[in-house]
Symmetry: C2
Subunit: 498 residues, 2 copies
């Protein structure tokens, strides 16, 4: 833009067909996306405010807000409170035709790799931004024994010794590792010494630790398809190549895994597949272990919410069945206690302990000890087991409410999948309805129903919604389901008129 | 090894000349290293206990213990308490002639890259293992107001709200970012909004965040030579190529930087160069900023212990002088408060905020909030500033004791370098004395005097010792200096007889 010339009105730069096909918000999203990709909306320039654009286009401001949020979550634009939104210099490069220059017009640019990462992180960004149903990241925090926890933390903080102030082992606190080893042995059939356990700040750091220790850039990694976006972000950040392997009713399709190019590592969620919710059968577990033993590959078993199983005892972990030291077992207290605790654990085969110690140190030296001490006591004094038992009843009830409300408001439109465990379920949309359209319109109305299709890497994508029920009471679940049912019907109607 | 055959005694596998040149521990180290590299001591096989080997070789057990520790810290062997030491399957590959197979004899092997990392981490491993003088990682933890801190943590834990249990921003707690922004503005001339600050678990995570956000594998990075091993570990883990740039009395040699291959990023410690202790001159600061602006490169300014300056006010930070949004400023509370706090901060240019948010999330979602709240109050209530003032007096005194004791016990053998700031100083050995030999022998006698030569990447290495004075009182500093003086004389004597 030259001095003395006012910039053209952004509305003029956007080619929004007034009566085009599909819902308005989808068309606006596409129009803005095109304007950004084709450079009509330039990088690092401010976008009009949602109010201004709504006025210029004579449409509802809510529509513009929803579209801006989606553009943000997909990595096209960014916004800070109070200072408006602007176009990011890095565009998700899966949409880019030509490679992007590193130093364009004298401006430092982050490299293209980061923009891929940004796009990848869509679902997490959405998850952390909104505390509304049906965000699967929400748990029943109101049922957490917060007073008890506070007393424990206060007690341990008063007991803080001088020794506890200094550098500690990258392993994490021994008392916590002992408590976790005992819990995992009883509850999950995991067989390990406390020395094989590394305390991490959550599953995400655990995954990054695994990547840094075991995978070189370019390494081939098998991931479930559909699968967990957070894991994909870690594998992408490590510059590995992901091979999507389909999931069916028994879990990962091992035949497909065997047909695929050799992979150094397979990432699986056998207890409660994310997002489909299926449990890997015992037969598949044994086949997967056999594959790993024969191919000298690793398995990462992400056991993110196995504590909540409603119909039967959880199956034994892959780690407990492993006879070839192939399994790295990943768990977190974010789901079962609370996310802000920032404590998870990684259990590794004995021969990896020395390497993991060093890589853990290179990542961030060692974990903070105060919360670890409180957590160790929380577990050893039996509070943890009591809390899990109480929550299992509560979440089973919430899942029932969700199923009843979907039956009442979305029967015939939305078919729930597996319901045996966890804090969310996947539900499949009636043929012909696009889940992203439902997601956009629902988001406008304050509902976070993540589109299932976004969890696929491969070409074959099922259309559905990921519905978390951990964070809602009866009334809010029914109200959200009613809204969602209306949204789906509206989307179906507008898609028919296409 | 075949069934029915006892393994040969390890002592027989080691070729230790009884009266060879150099100190015994150096010869034993070399003999064991050769036995490992040549495969006489096989990977994953147990080593003899220190007691057994000492008896077999008729030498002191202390010598064997010191050599095992060094082999551990250099990544040749690993040991766990109680279960003995064994040879690691991954050997630091700078010592290997031929590339190592990934899957050797059907065993999974971690890749060669990790072994490089292991070797790289030598100094950190040593640092965290021993709480003895002159470990530069030690601080005067006995002077930290632990009761006040405990009260603050207890108070905030009692006030824990339900909202504080859930997912939070990858940015970190706003109240802490505001407190840090204000402190940095006053104390370091850093100009930033709280939005530009990311709370991290320490400098190490901050560096990994920078690498993940800005550098692709293969990117060229300029590092100070000699320089900080922790930073090198992060750059190595990110698979970047490091270009060592010499440091002189004014800090980084900018002429050398300009002659070097173009680097996307320069990592510097301008307030108190690690390990030499020099402060970068204002002229050099301006030249470095000019280089970054012209080359569109980034500067990481690691300000790890600038709080402790004894003779003059600290120079303004590079960040405060920067006019081209090139500087990322890294700080930590590990040195100035206590390491177990696990809180540091990264200040980034405004245009990097959106990308950093996402990469921070992909690293480990967000930092735990409890300690952040206590720390924010610790700063805003003035406890932090008071603590820094008290500690500055204390550390100045400790540095004087160290200088006096070196003068008394090592005059002519050890020449202290810069003493203007920080918690350690570098001291140069009399010509002809190898600092690694001093390190080994001193370690045997319970002194941790890191060899300066190990901080160099380039061929030109100065021989000296890195002496931390933060963790000792008068008596322990004088006692350690006396021992060190003797050690140096012994090494000099044995080297003369070579």
């Amino acid at each position: 833009m030259r001095a003395g010339k006012a910039p053209p009105s952004p509305a003029l730069l956007i080619d929004l067909p007034k009566d085009g096909p599909g819902p308005l918000q989808t068309r606006l999203f596409e129009a803005l996306r095109r304007a950004i990709l084709e450079g009509r909306l330039a990088a690092e320039k401010p976008l009009p405010s949602t109010r201004a654009l709504a006025e210029q286009l004579s449409i509802s401001r809510n529509t513009v807000v929803a579209v801006y949020e989606l553009l943000t979550s997909e990595g096209y634009i960014a916004g800070r409170q109070g200072s408006g939104s602007y176009v990011l210099p890095t565009i998700p490069d899966r949409f880019l035709a030509a490679p992007q220059s590193h130093t364009e017009s004298g401006k430092k640019q982050v490299t293209r790799r980061k923009s891929r990462l940004a796009a990848e992180l869509m679902s997490n960004a959405v998850a952390s931004g909104k505390h509304v149903l049906f965000d699967p990241a929400l748990a029943a925090l109101e049922a957490f024994p917060i007073d008890l926890w506070s007393r424990l933390v206060a007690k341990h903080s008063r007991r803080l010794s001088r020794n506890a102030l200094g550098y500690a082992s990258p392993h994490g606190l021994l008392s916590l590792r002992e408590a976790v080893a005992e819990y995992l042995r009883l509850a999950r059939g995991v067989r390990c010494d406390p020395d094989q356990i590394f305390v991490v700040s959550g599953s995400q750091q655990g995954l990054n630790l695994v990547c840094a220790a075991l995978l070189d850039p370019g390494a081939a990694v098998a991931v479930e398809d559909p699968g967990y976006p957070g894991a994909r972000a870690a594998f992408r950040m490590a510059r590995t190549h992901m091979t999507p392997v389909p999931v069916d009713d028994e879990g990962l399709n091992i035949a497909a895994l065997q047909r695929a190019k050799h992979c150094q590592l397979a990432y699986v969620t056998p207890s409660h597949q994310y997002p489909l919710g299926v449990t890997m059968s015992l037969d598949r577990r044994l086949q997967l272990l056999d594959w790993a033993a024969k191919k000298h590959s690793w398995i990462v078993e992400d056991d993110y919410d196995s504590e909540y199983r409603y119909h039967a005892r959880p199956l034994s972990s892959l780690q407990g069945l492993d006879r070839s030291d192939s399994v790295l077992f990943l768990g977190t207290f974010s789901k079962v206690l609370f996310p802000a605790l920032r404590i998870g654990y990684l259990v590794v085969p004995k021969n990896l302990v020395p390497v993991m110690l060093r890589v853990r140190e290179a990542l961030d030296i060692f974990p903070s000890s105060l919360n670890q001490a409180a957590l160790a006591e929380f577990i050893t004094e039996g509070h943890f087991a009591r809390h899990v038992r109480r929550m299992r009843v509560l979440y089973a009830q919430r899942q029932k409410w969700l199923l009843h409300s979907l039956e009442r408001y979305a029967s015939g439109w939305l078919e729930p999948g597996e319901t045996g465990s966890g804090l969310h379920l996947a539900a499949f949309l009636k043929a012909g309805i696009k889940d992203t359209d439902v997601f956009y319109l629902a988001a406008e109305r304050g509902i976070n129903a993540k589109p299932l299709s976004q969890c696929y890497l491969g070409k074959k994508k099922r259309q559905g919604l990921i519905l978390g029920f951990g964070g809602g009471d009866r009334a809010s679940i029914f109200a959200a389901a009613e809204k969602l049912g209306k949204v789906i019907r509206e989307v179906a109607k507008s898609e028919k008129t296409d």
